[in-house]
Symmetry: C2
Subunit: 424 residues, 2 copies
């Protein structure tokens, strides 16, 4: 065996090409790139791969004797990526991947192979890009009890909300701008629906709490329903709106949600703008820390992949999780923690509407802390009205919302967002 | 040898007692506390140590056969702490310490013992308390080129500056408040002079760049000269003042400074308030990331110590640095990077003063971007005037300041602060 760790790299997109170039320049002293695999051998990627062997079938890297570690940057939740990773783990070969979709879809099977065989499967790049959040959570906070994780884990949503805020854009215009700048896909559904953030949250929760990752355990709302009016109302409360992925101890387990949240401008999470990601962690005995940085992009993702390679080269590789998913015992909770809420109604512009709405809220045990009503523009038959509630149980809020939505003669649209609180 | 790593802990102050309690509660599954040492065996520390052996001479932990790892929380740059750590490393026993002063003063000798003998010497708690910055820099960013580190590394200074800003306090009143709240020592010299931050910066620079840690390489200014008027002027430029510790590639080496800096409110570093610490790192290919959290306090420091213990228990301990200090080859640079500057003068309230001051600046190649002059109060013979310069070489600024200070008939106090820039 060579003195340096010999790397086989599958997938030569932006990230793969950056990783290859850095390895070839000696950025990880204990590792060397020996083999690559990609669809097109001859495409110019701005990096001289002439000294590296080319493998046309990526899965061959799993068994090739001169490859010690496999780096999977093919992408896709199954197919060639999954095949390569499973074969590599089977062959006791450590794997580095940036593939969040694959981990989310196949956590159980991959954890069996990796944890069962004690084969490192490193995935720093799969969550929050260049922010070393996996390492911080798993190693930097070892010895702590984690009480809450709150993350801005989707750069597309954060870009859209930031632009609505800074430039007064509508959701549609902000999305269009994000697409033009490359911060949103042509089909942005996975991002703006919150599903992408939920996949990442499930991975973080498995690490922090030992809850088996399962999207069904995450209460997910996207940002599609957030309007320019909501952004403006938030500003009146000295707040912004962020898509927050949260995993918090609640009831007898851990409650998971991804949803737009009203965040006071003085909170660190409110300062996270544009395409940045951030993760805030409340832990004991530590207290609160926050990490922020680029959550996507070639350089950020390559950075995380290189760090994983360096760890494995130093003999510090870890399996996917500390135990197989099938052996995780901590449970997900359906009890959303109590919260203040922002409730926005479109209220019919006629006598008694406001009285009726507030009566329904009161009857359902929802007490109001603040109200903002906009003046009517000529011809508007509905007026936007916003209530900020006192801290109430989620269940009370849900009942009140259902009761309000039934009053179609006084209101025709309701949006409720939790208000971010510093204490857990 | 026991299956678990057996911990010997010296020093049972707030941090030590928290670490002991966490270890006894099984917070680090692979480690167990077997021995402690402290000045007073019988003091009530709120933790039941009856199952743990007590050692009156801490240095005995170094040689005691049933101790696998020594945790040094005695404090002080020499004395019993240094003795214990040196003996432990001599005996090939891994050490965890929170002792920044000891590391700063004895980096050379300790690195020889630790790196030479390949014995782990972990010190996450020594810099920025509970923020896992050592791990992030050393492992999370492995494979990157570090271009700049900017840190708010002293919670005392940050508290004082934040309070001057938020409550309009004078420096003296803010310091007094910090002392009352336990955020400043009775003798705050090491903190407010910038020396504490410089010691931490030197350690970070050794890790990031391989520059031998040496306080003589750090250009240090404290916050004593910052007045309430400076804070108010900064606000007019939509900025705040922060004590920033910076290590940046400049010239043929790395330039190190600790000084008050004007920071735009939109910058993440400006959002770091009160006693918090933060570190912002610019790296390639990563980009910029920032970590913030509690830089001091029992819980935060204990968290970092526990993480180090967990790493060693997992077999992932590292020596103090990657090479002995005597073998570090990267050099410190005296070339401060070019910057915009905030220059505050007390200008004589008489005809021609302003003309003369601007003429001197112009003659010295300093071009002015903005000027703010306060109206005179009755009886003031000097008026505060602030200039913001265009980006200029530090050398030009220094010559201009010397020339200004010689004009005692027109000005009697000059303060110059760099303006923080996002690009390196």
């Amino acid at each position: 065996m060579s003195e340096k760790l010999r790397i086989g790299l599958a997938g030569l997109g932006t990230v793969g090409a950056t990783v290859a170039a850095r390895l070839l320049s000696g950025a990880v002293p204990r590792a060397e790139l020996v083999a690559v695999s990609a669809r097109d051998e001859n495409k110019d990627r701005g990096v001289d791969l002439s000294g590296v062997s080319f493998v046309s079938d990526p899965s061959d890297l799993a068994t090739q004797e001169d490859v010690d570690v496999v780096v999977e940057l093919i992408g896709g939740e199954g197919g060639a990526a999954l095949d390569l990773v499973e074969r590599s783990l089977d062959a006791n070969k450590p794997v580095v991947t940036a593939n969040k979709a694959m981990l989310a879809a196949h956590a159980d099977a991959l954890s069996k192979l990796s944890v069962g065989g004690a084969v490192p499967l490193a995935f720093e790049a799969a969550v929050a890009g260049g922010i070393p959040i996996i390492k911080a959570l798993r190693e930097g906070l070892a010895g702590n009890d984690i009480n809450r994780i709150c993350g801005i884990l989707n750069g597309t949503c954060n870009y859209i909300l930031s632009r609505m805020e800074a430039a007064g854009l509508s959701f549609d215009d902000a999305l269009k701008e994000a697409q033009e700048k490359g911060f949103a896909e042509a089909d942005p559904t996975l991002d703006i629906s919150g599903v992408d953030a939920a996949q990442k949250l499930a991975i973080l929760s498995a690490l922090a709490y030992g809850v088996a990752p399962d999207l069904d355990n995450v209460s997910v709302s996207g940002i599609e329903a957030v309007t320019a009016a909501d952004i403006a109302f938030a500003d009146e409360f000295d707040s912004v709106i962020r898509l927050v992925a949260m995993a918090v101890r609640s009831g007898n387990g851990v409650y998971h949600s991804v949803e737009p949240v009203l965040v006071k401008k003085s909170e660190p999470l409110a300062q996270v703008v544009n395409e940045l990601n951030a993760v805030s962690i409340s832990a004991a005995p530590l207290g609160d820390i926050m990490l922020q940085g680029p959550g996507a992009g070639g350089g950020a993702t390559a950075s995380a992949v290189l760090a994983d390679i360096a760890d494995i080269a130093a003999g510090f590789g870890r399996p996917l999780f500390d135990k197989a998913v099938s052996e995780m015992t901590e449970s997900a909770s359906e009890n959303a923690p109590a919260s203040e809420f922002y409730i926005r109604l479109a209220l019919a512009d006629k006598p008694g509407s406001m009285a009726k709405a507030t009566q329904i809220l009161a009857e359902n045990g929802v007490s109001i802390e603040e109200v903002v009503q906009r003046s009517s523009e000529a011809g508007d038959s509905y007026l936007p009205v916003v209530f900020i509630t006192h801290r109430i149980e989620n269940q009370l809020l849900r009942s009140a919302l259902i009761a309000l939505e039934q009053q179609t003669e006084i209101c025709n649209a309701v949006l409720a967002l939790p208000v971010f609180a510093q204490d857990v």
